[in-house]
């Protein structure tokens, strides 16, 4: 079979590339070239596999040796293929980008290791979505976690990087423990680690056990996806990692968790209880709202994007939750709509978030700072980067006709259909979630307005920003590809949605491809409820813009250009008089002060005369709620237990031998009796 062969070639090529990149570590230029050439080729192979699976049906390949855990097999069905495709597209663009981005590490850090780990990271993600054996899956999941951990701590000489990496490592392992336990409970029922035996096993479980497995998986995969309150690793790990890596982690790695949630709930457990969907919906709402609120007040550009990832994972979870609720009431067609919306948002978030992280990486590359308050004026100095970041920001803010708009609009449409649900309480709850999502959307627009405006517009706020130059071509190509896809996926969504229906229909048991798309219009519901046509919106927008330009030229004409100073109240206008990022978000900060719990301090150096002010200092920080009230006490408790346990660790050989001796004697006696 062609697909099998491609799959094997992909794995072999990636591993080979990793080895060569590591061996060439001493020659950074060659190493970078090899590593990222290989990763772009293998990601194209991944894309080819996706297309073949969609056209020819699923692929199955077994490792050609026996194992104690049953056959170690890989299966790529439509769902896996969709995620494989998403991962591959993003990896391809990021690989292009990395040619240029890895440059500035030469001589400072072992670039060969970056290339090697990058390839291993990609191939482990591919295998995570294609494994169809629980043990094989866990091994790949672990490989993915470890390779991304090594990538996060790549800039290990930066202060705090290793700490952030370890934090990520601990969080992801807590998740893995929960996932493993869930698999073991299922295994106890099915007697096989093969995924194909799980659905029947789940049918035989008691309600309590099934709910326990549901919760374990929600926690386990949630930790990787970054749901609140397990999100704390994202704003630490993403800024610490090299930007190309943060792009991959944020855009696609967290999606592997979404993939597994869909796989586990719809494929393995089967959605029966409505409260499961409600729980996922609630998690999604909290994550979306709090995520975007923290993103809005953040002034570190990469931390801001990390919080935005939390928000978007929340939105995806909302769609997933809605799909589960519909499914549990047997409303399969509506579940299909919600599921398609969910998958669409997975795709569009992958596209725009990788674009935005690459953009942030370019800014960092050019100015060596992530602090928005020190940037500004980059639109003139880096025109291409800023244009592409703008596309990403518009997409993230769900502006039509870009991809982010289509997915969020579909989620709204699915939620508006909640009046079909027979239960009154649920009927009330979903509109509440709808409101949350609407607020989230508005705040997201504000957050990205701030991110783009403060970073790229106005005048530079620091020397670094003033000296910024456009980044190398390969980086622009990587970003350009993603920007183009953001637009295309949005405009051509009428062609993409039927493909997503192919993915969702085996899961929810209903296909709505025929009714969903009508020509170039998207009609999510029966009758005259709502419809939208992205290409028409695009055409109208372009036409209106052209018309305004023409009209203003014709009727406005050329105005006289006056060059003079603006009225400046007698103080010279410098970058310090500009609107600051904190100033922009302060109204929101005050409005929601019960969420942010800002800590404000004001300090003034006194002068004998009350009319003279020499030095004033104002600081305002947000209270880290989760660190303080959840993780702090947890850490303290763990330390306390460890201290108590350490009593038996005396460090004396005799004591340790004594333990063994006593246990041996006891065992002998017990076994004899």
């Amino acid at each position: 079979m062609l697909i099998d062969q491609l799959f094997v070639v992909l794995i072999a090529l990636s591993l080979l590339g990793a080895v060569i990149a590591a061996v060439l570590n001493g020659r950074p230029k060659a190493s970078v070239r090899v590593a990222f050439t290989v990763s772009s080729i293998s990601s194209l192979l991944g894309l080819a596999i996706t297309l073949l699976v969609f056209s020819q049906g699923q692929m199955r390949w077994e490792l050609p040796f026996a194992s104690p855990f049953g056959s170690l097999s890989f299966t790529i069905d439509a769902l896996a293929a969709f995620f494989l495709g998403t991962i591959s597209v993003v990896t391809f663009a990021v690989s292009l980008y990395s040619f240029g981005y890895a440059d500035h590490y030469e001589g400072k850090y072992p670039v060969g290791m970056l290339g090697a780990m990058f390839n291993i990271f990609y191939v482990s993600m591919v295998m995570v979505v294609s494994s169809s054996n629980a043990i094989l899956f866990l091994i790949m999941w672990e490989t993915m976690s470890l390779s991304s951990f090594f990538l996060v701590i790549f800039e290990h000489r930066h202060e705090g990087t290793v700490g952030s990496g370890l934090f990520y490592l601990i969080m992801t392992h807590i998740g893995t423990a929960a996932i493993g336990l869930g698999f073991l409970l299922t295994y106890a029922q099915s007697g096989s680690f093969d995924f194909s035996s799980f659905p029947t096993a789940a049918q035989g479980m008691s309600d309590l056990l099934r709910s326990a497995v549901f919760l374990l998986w929600a926690v386990g995969f949630g930790a990787k996806a970054g749901i609140i309150p397990l999100h704390v690793w994202l704003p630490r790990a993403h800024p610490a990692a090299p930007s190309n890596v943060s792009a991959l982690m944020s855009a696609v790695m967290v999606k592997t968790a979404i993939y597994m949630l869909i796989r586990c709930y719809f494929d393995f457990l089967g959605v029966q209880d409505a409260w499961w969907g409600i729980a996922i919906l609630a998690i999604g709402c909290v994550s979306a709202l709090l995520g975007v609120m923290y993103a809005l007040i953040e002034s570190d550009i990469k931390r801001m994007l990390a919080f935005s990832t939390v928000e978007n994972i929340g939105i995806i979870m909302i769609a997933l939750g809605v799909a589960m609720v519909f499914e549990s009431y047997g409303l399969n067609e509506l579940a299909a709509l919600a599921m398609i919306a969910c998958l669409m948002h997975v795709l569009s978030h992958a596209l725009f978030k990788s674009l935005l992280f690459m953009g942030a990486g370019s800014v960092l590359h050019a100015t060596h700072t992530r602090n928005m308050e020190k940037l500004g004026g980059l639109a003139k100095r880096m025109p291409y980067t800023s244009a592409m970041f703008f596309v990403g920001a518009l997409s993230a803010a769900a502006i039509p006709p870009l991809c982010g708009f289509i997915s969020e609009w579909l989620i709204f449409q699915a939620m508006l259909q909640s009046f079909n649900i027979p239960e009154t309480m649920v009927k009330i709850l979903i509109p509440v979630a709808l409101g949350t999502l609407a607020v989230t959307g508005a705040l997201a627009a504000a957050a990205f307005l701030k991110a783009f405006g403060i970073t790229f517009l106005a005048r530079p706020r620091s020397r670094d920003a003033e000296d910024a130059q456009e980044v190398p071509k390969s980086m622009l190509w990587g970003m350009g590809l993603m920007a183009a896809l953001c637009v295309l996926v949005g405009v051509l969504s009428f062609a993409i949605l039927p493909v997503l229906d192919q993915v969702s229909s085996p899961l929810v048991g209903a296909s709505i491809a025929d009714s969903l798309v009508d020509g170039i219009e998207i009609v999510p519901t029966v009758g005259e409820f709502s419809q939208v046509s992205p290409p028409l919106i695009a055409i109208i927008l372009l036409a209106v813009m052209a018309m305004v330009m023409v009209l203003s030229q014709v009727y406005g004409g050329r105005r006289k250009v006056v060059k003079a100073d603006t009225w400046d109240c007698g103080t010279p206008l410098t970058a310090r008089t500009e609107y600051s990022g904190r100033g922009f978000s302060n109204p929101i900060n005050r409005m929601f002060s019960w969420v942010y719990r800002p800590i404000r301090t004001f300090h003034e150096t006194k002068h004998p005369s009350p009319y003279i002010r020499t030095e004033m200092r104002y600081t305002s920080t947000t209270e880290p709620v989760f660190d303080k009230y959840l993780y702090g006490p947890t850490e303290a408790a763990v330390r306390w237990v460890a201290k108590k346990v350490s009593v038996i660790q005396t460090g004396s050989i005799q004591t340790y031998l004594g333990y063994i001796f006593v246990v041996l004697i006891l065992l002998l006696v017990v076994l004899r009796l």
């Binding site: 660790q649 005396t650 460090g651 004396s652 050989i653 005799q654 031998l657 004594g658 063994i660 001796f661 041996l664 004697i665 002998l668 006696v669 076994l671 004899r672």
Partner: protein, 219 residues
């Protein structure tokens, strides 16, 4: 049928081994420790030779010779050499006083007989009586390791444990296959050498071989 002479010989040698265990616990000097250990190993070699003679299994002779050469000659000398070289004082320095230790070992021996009783009833092997003694030897060896301070006494304790295991192997199954035995000998030899070097190092770093000082390594 097994001759009474051989049986008597086996039982006597086994008794000597057990006696050696108690002497090891009772001795307060480093020098006598190694001597008694050498004696015990000699008895062990003799026992193996008798078993070889009775069963006609030639490979047990080889093992008997190796056992005597290695454990009765080479290793005790090596340990003596180390003790002299690092000029450690000659006291054994027990954590549990000698009378108390002897009482505990008596209890251990009774326990060993108590534990092996059901197995000995089933036993058809000529040496099955030795099983209890081998258990006692293993446990007393461990007790030596637990209750004595010096690193070198712990090495001897480990060797006594090994003797016990060897005795158990011979008394139940007429020794393990040749390859396994050779492997075990090699293991013990290398282990002793490594521990000897280790004792040197400990001595150089801490000016003592008192292993209770090693707790400084904690944290």
């Amino acid at each position: 049928m097994v001759s009474t002479l051989s049986l008597d010989a086996i039982n006597t040698l086994a008794a000597m081994i057990l006696l050696a265990d108690f002497m090891l616990v009772a001795s307060s000097r480093m020098r006598s420790l190694t001597r008694i250990f050498a004696l015990q190993s000699l008895a062990m070699g003799g026992l193996a030779a008798v078993v070889a003679f009775e069963t006609g299994a030639e490979h047990i002779y080889v093992i008997a010779v190796l056992s005597v050469a290695l454990k009765a000659v080479v290793i005790p000398r090596f340990i003596d050499y180390i003790t002299e070289k690092i000029q450690v004082n000659r006291e054994v320095e027990p954590l549990i006083k000698i009378p108390g230790s002897l009482l505990i070992c008596a209890a251990i021996t009774i326990l060993a007989y108590f534990v092996t009783e059901p197995i000995m009833e089933l036993g058809t092997a000529i040496t099955s009586n030795c099983l209890a003694i081998s258990f006692a030897t293993v446990l007393i060896g461990m007790f030596l390791m637990v209750s004595r301070k010096k690193a070198i006494t712990q090495v001897i304790g480990l060797l006594v444990v090994e003797n016990g295991v060897f005795l158990a192997a011979i008394s139940t199954t007429y020794s393990m296959p040749m390859v396994v035995e050779l492997g075990v000998f090699f293991d013990i030899f290398v282990g002793v050498v490594i521990m000897g070097i280790f004792a040197f190092r400990i001595n150089r770093t801490f000016e003592t071989v008192d292993s209770t000082v090693l707790r400084r390594l904690k944290d």
